[in-house]
Subunit: 207 residues, 2 copies
């Protein structure tokens, strides 16, 4: 089996957008498979910090820096960027779809299209019409996928995936999990790939 | 005048330790002067988030990740590391001393010695005896420097520097300020040096 990195991402998260773009050439160069793991940060922010929105909204100083940082990062990495007029956008429908997509060839294309819609085109990814359009663009069967996304089984599977993220120690996104080791933030991706090649510490004790 | 980067750092901050070490070879390679700007995060955390301690203590999940991340970062960059038995350590005396040191040749050596004491030797940098020892190790006149550090003028100067950090939009540490552009986190240092060489966006509008 080819070595793999798990990308744990939230479709409402600006830095996850950068991460979902940056991981592709890194994985290709390393000959590594990407396992796409969409999850929801909302329940995690609520449980850990009692927040109902993004921590970037809870601290506006940090929020303002984040917007400038994103503009700079995207320009540096050649990614299209437009500051969204709504942040964070409710991502539950798109994330349910992305979870279905994780076991289909069109999955990554849907993720990339959704991030572009949210953070380069200022489109409302919480809208069913927009999600349907993104599915069509990704080459997925629209109606069947929406039905699968909203099935009780898939809703439960997304809750399970979000619970798993919390158990793995996640508190934000994006994250890479590499042989059980957690790396938070797109700025740690190079370290995570180096770790996959050769870890430089013993595994962390499980707490 | 040689081009310069301003390093805004907090002596109680783990990531500032990594930053204060990593900046030295980066600045040397770029032929750039480092302006050392110690400041206090406590008043900023209190004003922006109502916190009385580190955000890493406020969210223990994020805190646990930080400790593992530090261990990994230090091992990767060849820096000595021991998880301190107290975190964060009150840094006000050492920071007042560092502010005096910012205009003396021994200043950087005191900063490096203080970080090593806090994060590699588990010494209490809030203790006057420890600070005196670190000053001696850095080649500074101990009694005169402590007196200067605790003068009303220097105490006011540190308050001013912390106010300036807040006005520049800081919410954590370390930061680099490069031609007025703010970069937060030691993971943005390479970007900050590239920016000094050639900015890739127009200046941010002042808010």
């Amino acid at each position: 089996m080819a070595p793999a990195v798990e990308l744990w991402f939230e479709l409402a998260s600006t830095y996850s957008y950068v991460g979902a773009e940056r991981i592709v050439p890194l994985a290709r160069a390393a000959g590594v498979t990407i396992v796409w793991r969409p999850f929801l940060l909302g329940p995690i922010f609520a449980a850990q910090q009692g927040l109902k929105s993004s921590p970037f909204n809870a601290n506006p100083v940090r929020g303002e820096y984040m917007w400038r940082d994103l503009e700079r990062l995207c320009a540096r990495h050649g990614l299209p960027w437009r500051r969204p007029s709504v942040f964070p956008r409710p991502s539950i429908l798109a994330t349910r779809v992305a979870l279905v997509g994780a076991s289909h060839p069109w999955g990554p294309a849907f993720v990339h299209a959704t991030y572009r819609a949210n953070f380069a085109e200022d489109r409302d990814i919480s809208s069913r019409e927009v999600v349907a359009d993104l599915l069509a663009r990704a080459g997925a069967p629209v109606d069947a996928t929406l039905a699968a996304a909203e099935s009780p089984e898939n809703k439960a599977a997304l809750r399970d995936q979000t619970d798993a993220a919390a158990r793995l120690g996640m508190f934000g996104a994006p994250n890479l999990v590499v042989n059980g080791e957690l790396f938070f933030g797109q700025d740690r991706f190079e370290d995570a790939f180096a770790w996959l090649e050769r870890p430089w510490l013993p595994p962390a004790p499980r707490t």
